[in-house]
Symmetry: C2
Subunit: 349 residues, 2 copies
Amino acid sequence: MSPKSQFLSEILEQPTALRRLLAEGREPTAAAAAKIKQFAPEWALIAARGSSDNAARYAQYLLGAHNGLGVGLAVPSLISLYGAAPRMGRAAVIGISQSGQSPDIVGVVATAAKQGAVTVAVTNDPSSPLSRASSATLPLFAGEEKAVAATKTYTTELFALAMLSAELEGDAERKAVLEKVPGYVEQVIASVEGRVAQAAQGFANAGKLVVLGRGFNYSTAFEVALKIKETSYIVAEPYSVADLLHGPVAMIDEQFPVIVVAPSGAPQVDVPKLFDLLEKRGARVLAISDRADVLARAQFGLPLPADVPEWVSPIVAIVAGQLFAHALCVATGADPDKPRGLSKVTLTH
Amino acid sequence: MSPKSQFLSEILEQPTALRRLLAEGREPTAAAAAKIKQFAPEWALIAARGSSDNAARYAQYLLGAHNGLGVGLAVPSLISLYGAAPRMGRAAVIGISQSGQSPDIVGVVATAAKQGAVTVAVTNDPSSPLSRASSATLPLFAGEEKAVAATKTYTTELFALAMLSAELEGDAERKAVLEKVPGYVEQVIASVEGRVAQAAQGFANAGKLVVLGRGFNYSTAFEVALKIKETSYIVAEPYSVADLLHGPVAMIDEQFPVIVVAPSGAPQVDVPKLFDLLEKRGARVLAISDRADVLARAQFGLPLPADVPEWVSPIVAIVAGQLFAHALCVATGADPDKPRGLSKVTLTH
C-alpha cells in the first residue's frame, strides 16, 4: 500500500474538522448573526472564487429558502478590472476565501464596507486581509490545508454558512440538525470508501463527463466537477437538470459518462424523468444518492446516509464526490497531491 | 451548394433585426427606464435560463459598470421547487426569455411584482405570460426565430439591455454608439464568414474544448460554448480566465482546443500572460479578437472590427462565435436545424 495522499488524508479529516467548527464557531457565529440582524439588509451579495464560489452557490439556496434573503454572486472583476463600484450599501456582503488573500475578493468586501454595508468574512485565516476588511469573521477552524484541492475548507465553509443561517433564523430544530452533521459525514465515508475504486474504473477512460445536480445540491454538482477537473484533468461540466434540458442535452450520447447528485429533497421530482432520458440516450451513470430507486437505475452507485435534511445534505454528498474524485485521480495514474499547473493561493486581480 | 440552414439564415439576419430594434425599441425603452428611475432600486435581480442567462451575465457588467447597480442572477428554483420567496421588494427584477413562456422565470417576476418590486420583461413576445406579469416590457422585435439554437433573439436581448442602460444613464455619447452596432455586426459577418470553415476543420475532431472570456465578454464565452454544445455535441466549457487559473487549468494539455474571446477592453491585460500559459501547455487556440497581437499568437483567428466600445462588444463578438459554431456543426456532419433532444420552448418548472 502506498502512503495516504494529503488529498485523501484531508478528506478523511472532515468529521473532526466539522466537530471543531461546531464547538469553536458558536461565538463568532452569534456575533456575526447579531450584526446582520441589527443591520436588516435588503439583500445579500457573496464574493468568492473557485471552491468558495460553490459554497456561495449553496448560500443562495440556504439564505434564500431559510432567511428570505435574495442572494447575488458578486462579479469581483467589476471592481478590479473596471473600477466600478455598484451600490452595495443596503446589502450583507459576504466574502468567502480559505486563505483570505484573493485581492479581488478583498476588494469587493472593502468597497462594500466603505459604502456602509454589513460585511462578513468566511475564512480559514482570521488574521487575513479579508478578515481585516470585514466587520465580522466566521473562522473555519479547519487547520492548515496542505492539499492543493480544497476539501475540508469547502465543507467547513458550507457548515459555517449553515450555522449562520440557523442562528439568523433562531430555530432550535435546525440547530439540533447541525449537531448531527459530523456524524453524517462519518457515515458517508464508511459507506462510500469501499465502492469508489470500482466506479472510478468505470469512468477512468472518460476524457469528459457531466455532473448533474439541482436545488441545494446544484453547488455539489459544481464542486464534484471542480475536484475532478483539478485532479484528474478530465473535462467535467456541472449542470442543473433544468439548464441541461435547455440545450446541452444534445451532447449526451451512447456511453457518455454522467454523474447524478440526487439526495432526497424537493428536486427529486425530476429524477425519474431524468433517468428515462439518460437511459434512452445510453449514458453511463454514477449516482450519489440515499434513494434506493435512484441507486438501482445507475450503473454505479455511491449511497448516502438516510434522513439527512436537505439543507445540510450538500455537506454530506460532496464527501462522496471527493472520495470519487480521489479514486478517479488514482485510476487515471495522476498524483493527487501534485495537480499540474495549480498552486494553493491564486492571487487574481 | 445546399440551401442555407435556418440557423445560418438567422445569424445573417441580425443586422436587420438590430436596426429594427433600434427604431422600434426607443419608446418601450424610455418607458421602462422612467419606471426604474422613479422606483430607485437598491439592487437588480435577473431571472433567465439558457441563452437568456448569458444575456443576464452581460447585464451584470453593463448595469454594474454604467448604472451603479449590483446585479444578482436569480435562482428560479428557489421559488418553483422550494416555495421560498426571498425579499425582492426594493429590487429592479428583470425577466429575460425569448418566448416569455418559462413558468419558473414568470414565477420570479410575478413574486417580485407582488412584493412591490419594479419588474421588466425582455422578450420576443410582448403578449406572453412574462410580459403580462411585468410592469414594463422591452420587446425584441426580432421576428419569429425558427432555428432551435437562439441567435437573433440573443443579440437583440443584449441590445435591448444596452439601450436600457444608456437610457438610464441618459448619456448622449453612449446613445450614439448604439446607432453603430448594426453596422459592426455587418462588418464582423463580412470579415469572419470566409474564415470559419478552416478554423472549424481544425476543431472538428475535438470532442471537448474550453471557451475563455472575461469582463463584459464573460457572457460571450458562455454563449459560444452553449451554441457549440447545442449544435455540435462537443463538450464546450466556458471559463473566466481568473477562474481557470483557480484550478481547471490542470486539464489543458498538448493539442487541447481552446477558444479565446478577447476583444479590446479592460481585461486585455491578462491576454499575453494567458497566451504564454497556453503555448507552454501546447494548446490549440482559436482567437476571436480585434487585436493583431492576439490573432498572431493563435493557430486560428476570427478578426473583429476595430474600435468597438467594450460595453457593446459582446453583441459583435458573439456573431463570430455563432458563425464558428455553425461551421463546426457542418464540419462534424450534424444538422444545424435539428439538434437532437432539443425543442424551442422548454417549460422548466
